[in-house]
Symmetry: C2
């Protein structure tokens, strides 16, 4: 299959990044980073979470961040929530672009750990989310499937199991008269490989009669960019990313890390541009934003292009120096 002509990347760095660090950061610094990202051409940026501030103190200032960031035309500043209360808070917080997303699960244990309910019971939660969106005129935008490639708690998730979870939600949406524009497969624990990307993208496209399929990839085992490339080969044009590779746990060291950062946004943009795929993103500005993130966080981030410079900038430097000495 041909590459997509244009790839859309949703930036999750600000939310992922600050949430995973052990210390708290000034609200003003978070606002600066979001503002820098908003100027790059990114069209959707996940700014913060509306979750229990007792449990996630890093996100206690979510409303202040939304109040402080600059609004850009065509840039949506979204948030993460994990329950109906979070959705309502997002709706009532000025500056939040509430995107109608539904988070679903493929395994009993992961669902239980995150929602304290079974997969079947979770369908009731999904119904509540959808009703809340409908009541607030928020169109359903995408279904996000956690542990779509396997689960650290429950083990392998085969394709029938994956499709079964998605099918239940599709049925619910159909019952409520809601179309499903996109299904995003999340490699929550970093078990995806390039072959599975192809298989699962094809299976989900078939199940949904051609809904847009997106990917939320983590670079847990150094396969992130291969998985991204494998998806491009299948024409996938929707990805989540994290500036500088923000996220993941910087303290997991040799422990049993279950998470690692999202695939790095600017590294994905770098690859797209070299492959002739448009992103609408200014790579040089994005690199500046990732270096800003690194200064704020105060440790070397895992992104590569941010430390090496874009290929195009190095190409131009080489050609310029050649002309000067010729």
């Amino acid at each position: 299959m041909a590459y997509p002509r244009f790839v859309e990347i949703h930036e999750e760095g600000p939310r992922e990044g600050f949430q995973m660090e052990s210390r708290l950061f000034p609200t003003a610094e978070k606002i600066s980073l979001v503002d820098a990202l908003s100027a790059t051409g990114l069209k959707k940026i996940q700014v913060a979470s509306f979750v229990n501030p007792q449990k996630v103190p890093a996100m206690a200032d979510a409303a202040d961040i939304f109040a402080g960031i600059k609004k850009y035309p065509n840039v949506r500043h979204t948030a993460l929530w994990l329950n109906k209360r979070g959705i309502l808070t997002a709706i009532n917080t000025p500056g939040v672009d509430v995107d109608g997303k539904l988070i679903i699960y493929t395994t009993e244990r992961f669902c239980q750990a995150n929602n304290n309910c079974s997969l079947e019971e979770h369908l009731e939660t999904q119904r509540q989310w959808l009703e809340t969106y409908v009541a607030n005129n928020i169109p359903l935008e995408a279904i996000y499937v956690c542990t779509a490639f396997g689960c650290q708690m429950d083990g392998p998730v085969d394709i029938p199991q994956l499709l079964s979870s998605i099918r239940a939600t599709l049925d619910l949406c159909a019952e409520m008269g809601l179309g499903v524009p996109a299904v995003v497969l999340g490699d929550t624990v970093g078990w995806a490989n390039p072959d599975e990307i192809k298989r699962r993208v094809a299976a989900v496209r078939e199940l949904t009669n051609g809904a847009r399929v997106g990917l939320h990839l983590h670079d847990t085992r150094g396969m992130g960019s291969a998985n991204f490339f494998s998806a491009l080969q299948e024409g996938v044009d929707l990805f989540d990313g994290s500036v500088g590779g923000l996220g993941g746990c910087p303290f997991c060291g040799h422990k049993d890390a279950t998470t690692a950062g999202n695939v790095c946004t600017e590294d994905m943009v770098q690859m797209c541009h070299e492959l002739g795929i448009e992103t609408g993103i200014n790579l040089e500005l994005l690199i500046e934003a990732s270096l800003m993130a690194e200064r704020i966080i105060g440790r070397t981030l895992t992104g590569r292009t941010m430390h090496s410079g874009s290929i195009e900038s190095r190409r131009q430097l080489a050609l310029k120096s050649k002309t000067q000495t010729a």
Copy 2:
């Protein structure tokens, strides 16, 4: 094209790693790392460089390392050299498995910077290397092409320019009656992308009438694993790698880094095993060796699988915990 059934990875971590660091490491620690690597199933390990110890103090103990490491059947302990003197030193150093490699260049500036001569003059150097190998009964094993995907000094290197350099060397080898078993393309400055991998592998195969093509990849801009996967799709079965992603410049920060570490060996092995490609390498032992490298170097290495655990080990843990609670 189908994946190769078996992929051969040459480990360059010990040489790359210790050479790039700012401080010196005890010889005993270097020996420990090589011994750990030798037990993993790796068949070829580049242990040290025979270069001017005034210029590269980290390699002043090269002979001592070779004297101290354990010899394993079927494991070759090789070295790097950059001139004829280096080859002769390697030949005369006990414990070195001298592999007949020829390093060639694609651009005038990079050749000049590394050899103080033009590309045409460098053919004379190549002839001296080859004569030295012949005189010592060392079969020519591979041609290593630096800056095969572009050059930070001279800019883009198109395919005709790449082939022209290789062709000159092939002609020289033919003139001397030497066959060329393999050509390894080096992405020295990290400009390769998955499409260029496919194009250049095909072009070199055509030029050489089917010589084995290998790749020496760096993860300079986060495309390392995508480039590796793209090569697997073309059936490439020979790669250089670096345990833990060792190498690269840990001090380049935001400066104009021209180098970054090789693609991480255990991350390549992880991908191969998930894709059903054999490597002959015990991934768990390799992860232990990379953690040893990290302890020795004293900073967090860039490898991912080493910090997250292999997928297979996590799969087994999940299945075991499921059985226990069932």
